[in-house]
């Protein structure tokens, strides 16, 4: 099925986009939200389950205190008010991923509400722009089990039956919902991406979640609607699920804007529905239509008593908040002397914390930036891996740079050391030794190569003898080639000049 799309420029000429983002954050507590089952990722199926998270009759839930603390800290970091009193509610629906036939969530009494986050949006060829995203609420709930659909197609439709693992059911989730984001215009896709990315930075800084999109710790649903330009109204929205990377958030918004506009231009109307994002093809397809079946019949959870965080507790938790990421970015940029563009690239590559740790481990700021953005970001991109999950950490990068600073290797050889690190060949020092990468600055070895270069390039040698010192470059190149890049270039230059002048 091919969707008709309107060009992005035409969309902007005729329509105003409104965005809404729902982000689910899976907390990194040791135990589940309402029971003591472990939350280890990748455990054998149905080995982290108990009567409570399996919804067996008579089982009683008890709230995880750390999860409530994390929820409050997230709320505070998003400049939210924290409820003085709130309850859990049952969201009733029939689907085998929740064996209780309801999800324990919060309804009209979220623990945190009415906040905001200032998002830095990169503008091509210009200064960064700040865009304020209003937060509607952040509430506590629990994750669902994982279904595997068995059948001919492997997809939900056409599946013969499903197999369910409840290890994930009951892991604490915080759902963060924005108010409609309006006025972003052409920047709507970038604003959406920047919001999710910077929200992730915040969650990481708080230390409340692994926040890995590729592992599903952080999941984004993208709501989008269009209204006629300047009308000030809100159009019918679609909700796109399964958006599992920052780049996909941006692409999904752009795609939906173009798809909506084509339908509206053709005199059609938007169906309020769930859409599924397809990473491989970059399109959305229809999921389920929002209808009466969406009537979840919420009611207060009778098995859990209200949560009433005292103001003392809230203030105590406020005292544990990390530095605001925007302020932190500004501070680090000044400390490191990075340009706006260098800083933006560092943040964009998800390498801010990694660069910071590399500098803390002893590397100069520009050297740390160079390796993370020049070498490791490329590797992450090539292997479709998160930059923090390459198996090469800040300590390794600092150690490589230390070898460069000490003159043991040069930048070119350092790249081979990184190859060794990716392959798990040991520490940088071990790799240099095992691969024989150290620069040769020993005069006897260099001298032989210099003599050979002089003999093979008599014209160049004559020029240097005549005082044209600049010609030495050609001889240095010849020596480097002879020694497979492992010669100490400065010493080679000295030797050439000693021998010829």
């Amino acid at each position: 099925m091919t969707e008709t799309l309107l060009s992005f420029d035409d969309v902007l000429e005729r329509y105003d986009p409104a965005l809404g983002l729902e982000v689910h954050v899976e907390l990194n507590t040791a135990s589940k939200m309402f029971c003591g089952c472990a939350t280890v990722f990748g455990a054998e199926p149905n080995t982290q389950v108990c009567p409570t998270c399996l919804g067996l009759p008579g089982a009683m839930p008890v709230v995880n205190r750390t999860a409530v603390e994390s929820a409050i800290r997230i709320g505070l970091a998003l400049n939210c008010s924290i409820a003085e009193w709130c309850r859990f509610a049952r969201k009733n629906y029939f689907y085998p991923d929740m064996p209780k036939n309801f999800q324990t969530s919060q309804y009209d009494e979220p623990i945190a509400y009415d906040g905001w986050m200032d998002v830095t949006v990169p503008i091509d060829g210009g200064d960064d722009e700040t865009f304020r995203v209003e937060i509607e609420r952040a509430h506590m709930e629990e994750d669902t089990g994982k279904s595997t659909h068995v059948g001919t197609t492997g997809r939900i439709h056409g599946a013969d039956y499903s197999l369910v693992d409840y290890n994930r059911a009951g892991i604490p989730l915080i759902e963060i919902v924005t108010k409609p984001i309006r006025g972003a215009g052409a920047k709507a896709p970038e604003v959406a991406r920047a919001y999710v990315q910077q929200l992730r930075d915040l969650i990481v800084a708080l230390g409340v979640s692994e926040a890995r999109m590729d592992q599903g710790n952080l999941r984004a649903d993208v709501n989008l609607s269009l209204s006629p330009k300047g009308s000030g109204t809100l159009g019918t929205r679609t909700e796109t699920k399964n958006v599992n990377s920052f780049r996909s958030v941006e692409r999904a918004v752009r795609f939906e804007m173009q798809r909506h506009a084509a339908i509206l231009d053709g005199g059609g109307s938007i169906l309020q529905e769930t859409r599924h994002w397809h990473e491989d093809t970059g399109i959305t397809t229809s999921g389920r239509e929002k209808s009466d079946a969406e009537d979840y019949r919420y009611f207060p959870e009778p098995d859990l008593v209200p949560v009433a965080p005292s103001r003392e507790w809230v203030e105590e938790l406020r005292g544990t908040l990390p530095e605001n990421p925007t302020a932190r970015r500004a501070r680090l940029q000044t400390e490191w002397g990075f340009s706006d563009l260098e800083m933006r690239d560092t943040v964009g590559a998800g390498a801010l914390g990694l660069v910071e740790e590399t500098i803390a481990a002893g590397a100069a700021p520009q050297a740390a930036r160079k390796w993370w953005l020049g070498e490791l970001a490329r590797r992450a991109n090539d292997t479709d891996t998160e930059i923090g999950a390459l198996g090469v950490g800040p300590a390794d990068v600092a150690a490589v740079q230390q070898l460069v600073d000490a003159g043991t290797i040069n930048d070119k050889l350092a790249r081979q050391v990184f190859e060794g690190l990716y392959a798990g060949e040991g520490t940088p020092e071990e790799i240099v030794a095992a691969r024989g990468l150290a620069i040769v600055s020993d005069d006897s070895a260099l001298g032989a190569a210099v003599d050979k270069a002089i003999v093979e390039n008599p014209d160049v040698a004559d020029k240097i003898r005549d005082g044209k010192v600049a010609a030495a470059g050609a001889l240095i190149g010849a020596v480097m080639k002879e020694m497979r890049g492992q010669a100490d270039a400065a010493r080679v230059r000295e030797l050439i000049l000693e021998k010829l002048t």
Binding site: A30, Q48, V49, V62, V63, D292, P300, P306
Partner: protein
């Protein structure tokens, strides 16, 4: 949460039955709808007595902030967890083909 309606129509009962996956015949709907209305009306009488100064009660005990420490306790084994399942495969609960969509 919305206030309880003072009566309930036959269509509303049919809708609720559908949401709760309860298969009710026309005769059962005819029978149950008026009964449910009587129950709602009876409960509504209490709302008439309770003034604005009486907060609705969702929990009978005057308790809040009942928490547990974030500590792992042993889970069931997979065999125990699956012992009541009508069907299991690959150490997972086997369930019928699902219509509709994931939440």
């Amino acid at each position: 949460m919305p206030e309880s309606p003072r009566s309930i129509t036959r269509d509303e009962v049919a809708h609720l039955a559908d949401l709760a996956r309860i298969d009710l015949s026309d005769a059962e709907l005819d029978h149950l709808a008026p009964q449910l209305s009587v129950i709602l009306e009876s409960v509504a009488a209490i709302q008439g007595v309770a003034g604005d100064d009486i907060p609705p009660t969702s929990h009978p005990l005057p308790l809040s902030n009942v928490f547990r420490a974030d500590e792992v306790v042993p889970s069931l084994t997979a065999e125990e967890a699956l012992s009541g399942a009508p069907e299991a495969e690959q150490q997972r609960f086997s369930v019928p083909r699902i219509l509709g969509d994931e939440q």
